[in-house]
Symmetry: C3
Subunit: 233 residues, 3 copies
């Protein structure tokens, strides 16, 4: 599954017809993480290789040249919760639930904690990691693990599918090159001190402005027309 996901993301990376990725489950559970039987029967070498695959997929999501939106229904636990934390954006139905329950099995969710700890305040991360308790979609929204709960009863007849597609379509209509550069720069600068962050961000802005898509976008805005990215990318 991890290898297929990785291979699929690599294909997406080079497909210029894809502008945004929605990561969702084909079933009632978003993802409950690793197969425990596999972890138990693997030797250390096999588990090391499995952890490498898993951490690679998570980092591929962060470094992918297109935004990734997690669309969560059902439960997202352990590496499944890590998937949500690793996406650029995340939306969930009001029945979705989240946990990092490894601690219940004597196997602390250390790698999920890498993504979770960069996504929410540390006391919220530690509460999930130490208790292993499920939190509701509403709580996940409150702590910053997801952007919003899409509650079909509150939001009229809108389904999670509709709403996430609407957000994805909005982002897909932007210049793909500007989005690619912007996403990459965002995560890179976050790991730097303020002055170094401004240095690389300023360079990125200047480079962005020399590109035809910024000229097209600004000209379209100033002349009140819709920008045409496709002819310019």
């Amino acid at each position: 599954m991890l290898q297929q996901l990785q291979a699929h993301l690599k294909t997406i990376e080079t497909n210029s017809e894809i502008n945004v990725v929605i990561l969702k489950a084909n079933g009632p559970v978003f993802s409950s993480g690793h197969d425990l039987n596999e972890l138990l029967t693997n030797d250390s070498e096999a588990n090391a290789s499995l952890m490498d695959s898993c951490s690679s997929v998570m980092q591929t999501l962060v470094h992918l040249n297109k935004p990734v939106i997690a669309q969560v229904e059902g439960i997202a636990t352990a590496a499944g919760c890590q998937l949500v934390a690793s996406c650029d954006l995340a939306y969930a139905s009001n029945t979705a639930r989240f946990a990092t329950p490894g601690v219940n099995l004597g196997l602390f969710c250390s790698t999920p904690g890498v993504a979770l700890g960069r996504c929410v305040h540390r006391k919220h991360a530690m509460s999930m990691l130490l208790t292993g308790d499920m939190i509701s979609a509403r709580e996940a929204e409150k702590i910053g693990l997801i952007n919003a709960v899409i509650d079909s009863e509150v939001n009229g007849n809108a389904t999670l599918d509709d709403e996430v597609l609407k957000i994805a379509s909005k982002i897909a209509a932007k210049s793909p090159k500007a989005v690619e550069m912007g996403k990459a720069l965002f995560y890179k600068q976050l790991e730097k001190p303020l002055d170094a962050a401004y240095e690389i961000a300023s360079k990125a802005m200047v480079e962005n402005m020399t590109k035809i898509e910024a000229k097209e976008g600004i000209d379209a805005f100033l002349t009140k027309r819709t920008p045409n990215w496709s002819n310019n990318d």
Copy 2:
């Protein structure tokens, strides 16, 4: 405008009669960022110089020896939103709105993302950066971009002006030297690992305690009188 703001901040820096800065607009818009015509017609060198000026102003706010409070009415977008994120504190009226809409023009708000990404959780920053959507003052408060919405209908007849002035006056009544040292240390230690952060913060505390203003402040507190900073700074 950036050069004037920079020069003004430098003047403020050395004016011992100013203890706190309130940054607000002289008009219905807080700031909508750069002039798009200028960006479009500039060559790369001119844009690089413009980005340098802009990043310098933002870092001057962070490093200024006096606290800076953003008082936001109307819209704060792109570098205007970055200004808000770069101030130490921010308050807004309930009609204020915030966005990093560069992506709509093919020009990702990379430099605003430096300030925004250090101010709010990353999924909230990414949502603003990728969609370019306006968020309300209430939403900005919820994610940590501003400290509070001052809603004159909720808070009786209090206006944003009154409330921000009250907060500024409260801070202006503290020892300017202690505030200067404390602000500088806060941002510096945040960029260090925990042990190094404690090392420089402990040194700062000890140095702070040798100063006459800490002796005055503690003595005033213990003898139940109002401290007199002005005679001691």
Copy 3:
């Protein structure tokens, strides 16, 4: 007091019968920080030594091999607020209040800011540090300084004691070794860039899986029985 707390934590570290620590006050005030008279009469060397002791206790909490829960009633100010921020988890009664009021005495809460600034968004930290104002337990929950307010009037007859003990008991029932490794890894990886964080976290996971407690935990889960950590640690 700091020396006793430090010595006590060191004893706890090697006591295998203790799995979780609850830090609470023996009186109506959680902690109001340093003795101002002591700070005022100490020479610089004595104050440097005092700051070292204090920063050591705070870092001992972070590095302790068992989770630490702050249980807060009454006020937690200055180094007392820092204690709360330094614990892994924190719960408070609805009458608890929090502040970093050093600035009122000309003595900026620089060391408390180290813990506070890693616990909440920076505008919230700066508001507390610059104004010195008390915030309510509800506000502390909202900004992430504490995990939750335990309101006996809202939560039936449950007291703060009962609720914190319930959370502590839940965590104490996990494998102590997994918790120890997980806690240490969490804070360590947070200070690293993403790739380095994943590298050490993946190694920790693999090592965790070779331990008898993970085998016991996973086997217990798969065979639907209660894990028996005590025989395996």
